[in-house]
Symmetry: C2
Subunit: 577 residues, 2 copies
């Protein structure tokens, strides 16, 4: 592509509402323009990247044996009523009426449509397993669209849906798709982790999210520094290698701890390490007869409660709810800041202790008396009748649950999600096939999503510097930029640029020739902002010495290349045969 | 692709609502499925064809220098209010409200969005001309969606929009796009005509439609049998080579013509050729002072009035409106069936005579008296004070307006439309650039559409037989089908089929291997229904004689090919090097 035939919409400044790097850089590099809140036009530079990502995704889906289809974006309400989601789905589902006053929605996802297709087209177990995918614009009416195309209302998604005669077949395709997703992100060249994900309201099903690691991510990902283990922080098991506490060495003592509003302040005041303290929280529970009760959760002072883990325990109100201050005062006789686990069982409160808290000795806890704490506490000797559970978030340095290495926590951007749906939709929509015995059998389903447009933003979040974007080679809008100095005035420069441009194009390389009448500084800055990985500068000065200047965007390193070797040099560098 | 890994949804019968061949065949061949009125899922076979069409369109747009972008499908009402179309556009525009109660529509076209983009991104004449295109799903809420994807509510469209500093530049790009459109349809392999089209409400602009010729078309196209000339029947100039009538040979006579309700009946009754009669119609007119008048239109008995041509004449009410029967009786004294041009000017009625009617002599017309006609009429001698204009539809056999050959009329399916928009949208949305003198200058615009999904249907309308589809090579879902006889039982067949399949695939050929456990008859029928152009049949019987049976779908002709030459044979036939 020649700059003179191109739309070069680079900007010096990003819009004020762009708070993350990818949003700022995509606007500044002329990749996207907002037309209305959360609705974007992809300009040529942006679309080039998007199409490259799309093609990688398509190729890997085809390799995984998935068949491409294209379902309508506008979906009839009837199907959503059959699945029960017409009512359940919140205002993210954009509902509308057509000219005949019939209800439709703009598809945020396609489980209903594909299940309708499957129940009509699939009649025999012999047709299974089968896996359909599409790459299509979706719409979700986000309450607060933000971060550019990272959380826009319209976005490009690859969604796939597989159908199976049994759960084993589903598991097989699930693993194939897991591998295909890894191939996609490997080929794009991203640092990512497949992480165990919460299955949400669908119990028993199995699910993985694929996260690109980046500071601006909205999720915390816990992963091992020396194995494949990765999970959402909320789901990662917190391991305590110390099985039981040391023997007591101290007696208990009640001490005044005035104005110590946090556990850290208590520890500082008493000159104790915070790891030698516990904090006790009271939450709402329910007993086996259905009566309201109170449950105490005890954690080491430096740990944080994990509400998802707690919600999975028996006898706990879901969603997770703290006891009110009044409840606490009425039951314990003190304010929340001074609770300790001692004697709570006598007040009818069940005590659940986190594994790590249960492994310490001679510790400090609230004294169940305002402004007092008790030191020298020891389990069993001073506190009895409690259970030990995993109820905390993992922290960096925790042992990895798979026994290999230590936990590292980074922020992640979710770019993919694979899910074993089981029979939820096929049951609701009565999608059956005849099995070997001619009996109707409800199909098993998997679904698999990739946020194609979000990948573009996530790739930038992971690859940029103060000058602009640093594209991974396989999704760069152009791989090579030729910067022509005085293209309009110097015949030598013009001929050499045209020759390079044509020969690199012939070699199948995405090459950009900046033939504009602009100052070199403007061209350099634009090339760096756009993140074109390889740069050739052609000027009269260099040509006099028979040389062209090469520079690699990622490292800033370069060299002078003899003009007749420039094409070969680039082909070698890009490994184009 | 192997049939065993594919979705093979062929049907014996088409749905009852499918009245055109393409709709029937697309459903029967498992290309599309309707999910709701006018909303279709494209199954793998259909999508393969659609993608091939899409790729040809994209390649030709890029060759023509257009830059691909992707605009949002959901568009804010504000832009449509600026252009004035939020009010003007009928119920085909699907309007909706988002969760914040703001107005949006589902884009049926993108003039507003692209003009908004252009006014922001284009600032200087140096950036012009520039041409943007996108290939995107559009939505038009058709009152009566029909003919499958030919007139569906969602459809895939390529729309392009060009911006210019002046009308000459617009004309240049218009011609480039005209050529690009011809390239597209040539490459797809369709019999089509670019036809001059009505410019509708935008006076002075220039427009061409591209029609695929097919019986089921909704438009009548007039074209020359020996030149490039083609136009919508409504627009084609009707030529009369006879410049003036022959000298009179008869005297006028008034004859009783009872119960002759049509001009044909009059001619039959009087034993006259219908070409020797004229019919006179009265329509509403308006004089130079704005008063209501009546205008008489006179055509040869065998010709049809062309309302669009009449509407372009001065002194005629638009839209075209016939005078009421009461008006006729009041003015002339007879009913509509007996009007003639004689003496109308004396009643204040302007007489406009079609060129062909003006070239006959000794003709018959209504006698302006119920149930009477006048014979032996001659222009000037019997009727004076009339003007001669082109006011009829062309008919087959008319001379072509470009002087080359005769007119042929066929039905056409509109698959493309290019349009010189001029400054309509750029003026409304204030899209200006600075010209050479630093002065703001409103841009000129062109727009260019191709119905990508409609092309798929149109290609079938032009290429099918009683067994199924006859795909043009470049858009066939597969080019070669290998039909395996007893694939599961015969090792020889299996090995040979697998070898052929792999070698053809390696050669880059879209090959389909029917490895299903089905009767040969079923496989033959499916291959013919799908319209795969080339068929190889591999069976034990043939292999014993070292031969494979080849058949060409379009002609039904074939031959036996030695097994070791089969790949070379196909490569030669498909001209794959």
């Amino acid at each position: 592509m020649r700059a003179s035939n191109y739309l070069f919409s680079t900007l010096r400044d990003a819009p004020t509402d762009a708070v993350v790097a990818s949003h700022q850089l995509m606007v500044r590099a002329g990749m996207i323009r907002q037309i209305s809140k959360g609705l974007y036009t992809w300009l040529p530079t942006g679309l080039r990247v998007l199409k490259k990502v799309e093609n990688i995704v398509r190729e890997e889906m085809e390799k995984a044996g998935a068949l491409e289809v294209m379902m309508p974006g506008v979906q009839p309400a009837e199907l959503w009523e059959e699945s029960g989601r017409w009512q359940k789905y919140g205002p993210e589902l954009l509902r509308m009426k057509d000219r005949h006053n019939r209800d439709y929605c703009l598809g945020p996802t396609h489980e209903e449509v594909i299940t309708e297709l499957a129940r009509n087209e699939l009649t025999s177990y012999k047709q299974l397993p089968i896996n359909f995918f599409q790459i299509q614009t979706k719409f979700r009416d986000e309450v607060r669209p933000r971060f550019g195309v990272m959380r826009s209302r319209e976005f490009l998604m690859k969604d796939a849906y597989s159908f199976h005669a049994n759960s084993e077949s589903l598991q097989e395709t699930y693993e194939t798709m897991h591998k295909a997703y890894c191939n996609v992100f490997d080929r794009i060249g991203l640092d990512y982790r497949p992480v165990q994900a919460d299955t949400g309201s669908i119990g028993g099903a199995y699910s993985h999210e694929f996260h690109v690691l980046a500071q601006s991510g909205e999720d915390d990902i816990a992963f091992s520094d020396s194995s494949e283990f990765a999970a959402n922080v909320e789901l990662a098991e917190a391991i305590c290698t110390k099985q039981s506490p040391d023997a007591p060495t101290q007696d208990i003592a009640e001490v005044l701890t005035p104005d110590c509003k946090t556990i850290q302040k208590v520890a500082d005041f008493l000159a104790l390490p915070v790891e030698k303290t516990v904090k006790t929280m009271l939450i709402k529970g329910i007993d086996s007869e259905g009566n309201d009760t109170i449950v105490a959760l005890v954690l080491r002072g430096d740990h944080q409660i994990n509400e998802i883990k707690v919600e999975k325990l028996e006898g706990v109100v879901t969603p997770f709810e703290f006891a009110t201050e009044q409840d606490i005062i009425d039951t314990i006789g003190c304010k929340p800041g001074s609770i300790g686990p001692q004697g709570l069982n006598e007040k009818g409160i069940r005590v659940i202790v986190d594994r790590s808290a249960a492994a310490i000795s001679d510790f400090c806890a609230g004294a169940n008396k305002d402004d007092y704490h008790t030191t020298g506490l020891n389990w069993n000797r001073d506190i009895s009748d409690f259970v030990v559970k995993d109820i905390r978030n993992v922290v960096e340095g925790d042992p990895s649950p798979d026994g290999k290495g230590k936990i590292v926590i980074k922020r992640g951007i979710e770019v993919g999600h694979i899910f074993q749906l089981g029979q939820q939709y096929s049951q609701a929509l009565k999608a059956t096939v005849l099995d070997e015995n001619g009996k109707a059998q409800t199909m098993w389903m998997g679904c698999y999503g990739i946020g194609v447009s979000r990948i573009v933003a996530a790739a930038i979040e992971q690859n940029y510097d103060d000058k602009g974007i640093l594209w991974p080679e396989n999704i760069a809008p152009f791989n090579v930029s030729i910067i022509a100095m005085n293209y309009d005035k110097s015949e030598d420069v013009r001929n050499e640029c045209d020759r390079l441009y044509n020969e690199l194009k012939l070699a199948g390389i995405d090459v950009f020739l900046d033939d504009r009448k602009e100052r070199p500084g403007v061209k350099f800055a634009d090339s760096e902002l756009l993140g074109i990985p390889h740069r050739l500068v052609v000027g009269d000065k260099g040509l006099k010495n028979n040389s062209i200047e090469y520079k690699y965007r990622a490292t800033g390193e370069g060299e002078d290349v003899p003009r007749e070797e420039a094409v070969t040099f680039i082909r070698k560098t890009l490994q184009v045969s």
